[in-house]
């Protein structure tokens, strides 16, 4: 036991030893590793009956808090049941969109992601053989009317998820859309296959569940198709960059003259932000506009509540910054909790060994007495160590909400940029109209000076007037889109504020109850030892 060289192996050994130690009373099976995914660690926690009003603000748990001694057990169970039970309604605490009182409490949309499988992509052109990719089984259970069935599964690959995410971003501008998981190219190379697949599976599940919890998006056609449509996902728009560029060039005259189906400008086109490659002209124009905006050039009339918006944005930005700071400190706190638990456990084990040693080699009764005392302390230390581990597993679950909201803030930022780019489109079109108007005026003025008319000029004026009409329509469309996005922003912001309020209060409550409960348990453990050794206090040294 010269101990110092083999610190690492000793560490692992002690973890196992701690697990296998027979303790006097039975302790909760806190085997959850603090940093595992909160969703998967929930299965190791004991939960008894599930309260029926699980998503309501649990008044029941408050009553038990105010009751004397150990409310700890009651609280823990009800809280675990709230948070570890998979969503039955769309109302799940993990996502922003869980209202504290669900709209129609019978709707449900439950999604599970499982069973990663390797599949071969059949080569379609140059590369001989195929490339391999992974598909996941997406299982849905629902009673929503939009869906054809109540229980069904499809296989999707990660690329499909990216597509879904892109399509949603296009269709739901202004909404706070949950962010999809990262492509994680580096991780996929560096991590072990199994570990990576599991990480991705969990991330996908979390993402889809968040989508399902959003009151508007859960009813979207895009999501439905993703979850239900068999075979290849039919949401594909061409992502081939080459054809995009071509498209862009071809679109130019169309955009100017509005020559699409029926001569009307495709409102969709206008309603989309200018995309790379496709809308070259538009990008250039909007760039020019944004530059002139910055330089205080044309001041567009569409600015009324800018001040209010700016204030709101600033507040959200501040909140995001502080949240990020708290999230960092929370991580450090979790680490410190883990460390103290580990050290307590290691010390306990060292005392266990000492106890055995003294007992085996005892010559005098004083040694046996000491060994008995030591055993109490050792046992208590190991118990306390387990309590710290459990405390930490729960703490991670609660404080994870901070991390989640950092993700939500990104969605918020996206929604606000949707608004900005829509506004930019409107401003661009307004300034185009303005310049068209002045050109028409000039030409008309020039033409009127010539008697009989100037054929070419008159033709030109007609063309410009036509362009003006088309652009006017486009502008109306863009304004409608902008207003729509603003409305979405407003509604989502309301929803966000309310949910943020409820979620964070819930998180605080959970965190506090957790800390108090485990502190109480630890106090009890040590109280016993203090009583057992109280005899020594009388003979001070």
């Amino acid at each position: 036991m010269m101990g110092y060289e083999n610190q690492e192996s000793h560490l692992y050994a002690s973890k196992e030893e701690m697990e296998s130690l027979v303790l006097d009373d039975d302790s909760p099976n806190g085997t959850a590793h603090p940093f595992s995914d909160p969703l998967s660690s929930s299965s190791s926690l004991p939960f008894a009956e599930i309260p029926t009003d699980q998503s309501q603000t649990p008044n029941s748990s408050f009553n038990s808090i105010l009751e004397p001694p150990s409310y700890a057990e009651a609280i823990f169970r009800s809280f675990d049941a709230d948070h570890s039970f998979p969503q039955l309604n769309g109302a799940h605490d993990h996502s922003i969109a869980s209202p504290s009182s669900p709209p129609s409490s019978d709707d449900f949309l439950t999604i599970t992601v499982s069973d990663p499988q390797k599949e071969q992509e059949l080569s379609n052109s140059l590369v001989p053989g195929g490339t391999a990719y992974v598909t996941y089984l997406i299982t849905t259970r629902t009673n929503l009317p939009e869906f054809d069935g109540t229980e069904f599964s499809v296989r999707r690959r990660f690329r499909d998820v990216v597509t879904l995410s892109d399509r949603l971003a296009e269709s739901y501008r202004g909404f706070f859309i949950p962010l999809r998981p990262d492509k994680s190219v580096v991780e996929s190379q560096v991590m072990q296959k199994q570990e990576f697949l599991e990480q991705r599976r969990a991330a996908l599940e979390k993402y889809l569940r968040r989508l399902a919890a959003h009151p508007v998006i859960r009813r979207s056609e895009e999501l439905r198709m993703f979850l239900e449509a068999n075979g290849k996902l039919p949401l594909v728009r061409t992502t081939d960059v080459g054809s995009r560029m071509l498209d862009g060039a071809v679109q130019l005259p169309k955009q100017i003259f509005g020559e699409t189906a029926g001569g009307m400008v495709d409102a969709n086109e206008v309603a989309q932000p200018a995309k790379g490659g496709r809308d070259l002209l538009r990008i250039f124009r909007e760039l020019k506009q944004s530059v002139s905006n910055d330089w205080g050039g044309v001041k567009p009339p569409v600015v009324e509540e800018d001040k209010e918006l700016l204030e709101k944005k600033q507040k959200l930005h501040d909140f995001e910054q502080q949240l990020s700071n708290v999230s960092q400190q929370a991580e450090a706190l979790v680490k410190a909790q883990q460390d103290i638990g580990e050290t307590m456990g290691q010390m306990g084990l060292a005392f266990v060994k000492l106890t055995k040693f003294e007992t085996e080699r005892a010559v005098y009764d004083s040694q046996r007495t000491r060994a008995a005392d030591m055993k109490n302390v050792a046992t208590a230390s190991v118990k306390a160590s387990r309590l710290y581990r459990e405390l930490n597993a729960q703490t991670v679950k609660h404080l994870d909400k901070l991390h989640e909201y950092l993700g939500v803030m990104l969605s918020v930022n996206n929604a606000f940029s949707d608004r900005s780019s829509a506004l930019l489109t409107v401003q661009t079109l307004l300034s185009e109209l303005s310049s068209l108007n002045s050109r028409i005026e000039k030409l008309e003025a020039a033409a009127s000076k010539i008697f009989g008319g100037d054929r070419s000029r008159i033709r030109k004026i007609e063309e410009l007037k036509e362009t003006h009409r088309v652009t006017e329509d486009a502008k109306s469309s863009a304004v409608r889109e902008y207003e729509r996005i603003k409305e979405n922003n407003k509604n989502e912001l309301e929803r966000f504020e309310k949910e943020r309020h409820d979620d964070f209060l819930g998180m605080l409550r959970g965190f506090i109850v957790n800390q108090a409960g485990y502190a109480e348990k630890m106090a009890n453990v040590w109280k016993t030892v203090a009583e057992e050794t109280s005899g020594y206090a009388k003979h001070g040294s």
Binding site: G3, Q329, F357, S366, V377, A519
Partner: protein, 401 residues
């Protein structure tokens, strides 16, 4: 050394509860003060002696002592009272900046106080002249005594290490089944030696983790404090119920952080330090074991020398050599030395047997108290934390509605 009768060998009065008739000797080490400047700076302590023993001048005496004076006392006792487990001293500090930290000074003061009191309550050691000089002599006498010490009695570290190695290898030899003739090897003594060596390892490990536990308390306190500050800032983003809830959480976190820091200190002084003291005590026993080995070796060597001398003597007798007379004188001297050496060795053995009993009893009560303080402190901390967090809940309930 002195002629006073002592009441009983083992039963001692607690030096802090004097009664008017019975003899008492009570010492305390207090008031650490920094003296001098720069490299020469050191800490001095007040040593207050209260006694009714006639050998001591007056009922109360206060002297100023520094760490090296305590070291002098320890070394003198170690030389004179072989066989007795001399109470251990706290270590010299190796890290410069730590030397004058408040915590280190307090830990050292406490340890020195315990040291002197253990000597004062040991039935043999309390009678020593050196103790009296330490407790009573003025500073100049003390300084002089201290300077005389260096060189004469100091054992070179290399010697001690060699002795430890010998003793240690003896232990492992026994374990491996080998025997070396010049070492003591009664089974009980072997058992005791291996017990002591293994005990040190176990204790050192427990103490290492205890020290880390102190640090972890501090770290948890710090991170909780930082967390609290960050949460308070988050609270300023909202001026509604949520903002208030955050502010309250942040404030409470900071309060709890202070509790953790306090407990860390309590843990250090009342649990980790006694464990450390236990380790030192075991090391002191090892030093005594080494002394015993030296004494045994000397005894054996002398016995050998005497035997050879006897052979020579007989030779001279037979040959009626003129060397006989001198040889006889030398032989007598050797015999006397041999008896003295044997007596010394036997004393060591006897004393060690008593000491080991005393040691075990003392450690049981020392550790019992340390365990009690540990448990008490943890219970107090946890209760404090539980109460603090719980007090937030009614406010939180108000914010939610």
């Amino acid at each position: 050394m002195n002629t006073m009768q002592r009441s009983g060998s083992g039963s001692l009065q607690s030096p802090r509860s004097p009664s008017s008739q019975a003899p008492f000797l009570s010492v305390s080490v207090t008031d650490p003060a920094k003296m001098g400047n720069g490299v020469q700076a050191y800490i001095s302590y007040k040593v207050i002696t209260k006694t009714n023993l006639p050998e001591y001048e007056g009922n109360e005496k206060i002297v100023i002592r520094r760490y090296s004076d305590f070291v002098w006392l320890h070394d003198r006792l170690f030389e004179k009272y072989k066989g007795i487990f001399i109470p251990p001293l706290p270590e010299k500090s190796t890290v410069e900046k730590f030397r004058f930290s408040a915590e280190f000074i307090e830990m050292r003061r406490q340890a020195l106080d315990v040291f002197v009191n253990r000597i004062a309550s040991h039935h043999e050691l309390r009678q020593s002249d050196d103790l009296r000089i330490f407790l009573q002599a003025d500073e100049q006498t003390m300084d002089r005594a201290r300077f005389q010490e260096t060189g004469i009695f100091k054992k070179k570290p290399a010697d001690l290490i060699q002795i430890f190695k010998d003793v240690q290898s003896k232990v492992s030899d026994v374990v491996l089944g080998k025997e070396k003739p010049v070492e003591e090897s009664t089974p009980e003594y072997e058992k005791m030696k291996s017990y002591i060596f293994e005990l040190e390892d176990h204790l050192a490990e427990a103490q290492k983790h205890a020290y880390r536990l102190v640090k972890r308390h501090r770290e948890l306190g710090e991170s909780l404090s930082e967390f609290g500050k960050a949460v308070k800032l988050l609270g300023t983003c909202d001026d509604d119920a949520l903002g208030k809830a955050f502010s309250e959480l942040g404030a409470k976190s900071e309060i709890i952080s202070i509790k953790l820091q306090k407990e860390a200190h309590h843990l250090l002084m009342n649990f980790e330090e006694p464990l450390k003291d236990y380790v030192r005590a075991v090391q002191s026993i090892k030093a005594t074991i080494a002394e015993r080995a030296i004494a045994f070796k000397k005894q054996c060597e002398l016995a050998e020398t005497i035997k050879f001398k006897e052979i020579d003597l007989n030779k001279y007798r037979l040959t009626r050599s003129e060397k006989l007379a001198e040889a006889e004188r030398e032989y007598e001297m050797l015999k006397a030395e041999g008896e003295e050496t044997s007596r010394r060795f036997d004393t060591i053995v006897r004393l060690m047997n008593e000491e080991i009993v005393r040691f075990q009893e003392q450690k049981t009560s020392d550790m019992g108290l340390a365990f009690h303080e540990f448990a008490k402190g943890q219970a107090r901390l946890s209760n404090g934390i539980a109460d603090a967090w719980r007090s937030l809940l009614p406010k939180l309930e108000a914010h939610s509605s």
